[in-house]
Symmetry: C2
Subunit: 148 residues, 2 copies
DNA sequence: TCTCATGTAACTTTCAATGTTACGAACTAG
DNA sequence: CTAGTTCGTAACATTGAAAGTTACATGAGA
């Protein structure tokens, strides 16, 4: 998730297609790993890929029309929580009572989280990125006089 | 988490102390694993342990005074989410923007989840467990005539 | 004193995530 | 049409964290 967002924002900074090779160097990983996660996004219509000379990955939709929720589903909607339910011995009544209680809380939190994802666009992330860049430039050009 | 709750509810069904050996068989695991997770709960005052003959684990507090939140903290407050933030290259402005956005959503969901945990007592879980037992008994003694 | 039980360090095993290699398919430039 | 690029994907290797295991020390009761 975090890595994919990183990649997409970097792609938005370049106008032409970007190869898996280049993206892999940015993320300090392997081109095949990039292709794996991009596969889902491609199927979802978020990005497109082109082969051969001048090929690579391109954003297929506007940043403003993409939310964190789109990306989450694009990468296959993986489990959100680290503390899952035991699925062993589900016939045990104790197990069922425990799972019922945990599920109630987890489902509620999951609904909120996904709703929250739905309100954040990649355009917002990009804007925050550029704001940080500007602040950083201002800080260094003024000789780091502020703060500590 | 799920496993610990299972253990605690089983302990509540017995009046005397229960050994790690017995609990391990219930959970289909190893006694040492039981002692490991119980260590935190003991430090938190949730359970006590006694050595020697007739020893084992005992609930030190009433089920009604224990919430899921207490148990969560008792086992060391492990990470709740499976989709963490990248901590590599945190100086990259893109990374910072991504982490900022994800943290905002995750923190909000975490707060809700923990609050939700705080409202559920183990007494409630135990009641649900006994309700299930009663329903199951009723269903089998009536010959499974209802539903399918 | 002998047995039972926890406490804990050290080691091993397991398993899923990630990384890697290899090769086929599709595309472009010349 | 040929050569060079790039994605697509299967198969295998590596890694790291969680769980399991062994071993032994400590404390408590019969």
């Amino acid at each position: 998730m975090s890595g994919v967002l990183h990649v997409l924002l970097h792609m938005a900074e370049v106008d032409g297609p970007v190869t898996s090779e280049t993206l892999a160097r940015m993320m300090q990983t392997n081109p095949v790993v990039i292709r794996r996660v991009m596969a889902g996004l491609k199927a979802a219509g978020t990005v497109r890929s082109d082969k051969g000379h001048g090929g690579g990955w391109t954003l297929a939709r506007d940043l403003a029309s993409l939310t964190l929720l789109d990306i989450y589903h694009g990468i296959g909607s993986p489990p959100l929580f680290a503390i899952g339910n035991r699925r062993e011995a589900p016939e045990c009544a104790v197990e069922q009572a425990v799972n019922e209680a945990l599920d109630a809380s987890l489902d509620e939190a999951e609904a909120l989280l996904l709703a929250s994802f739905g309100t954040v666009t990649l355009a917002t992330l990009s804007q925050n990125f550029h704001r940080r860049l500007a602040e950083r430039r201002a800080a260094t050009s003024s000789g780091d006089r502020h703060d500590h």
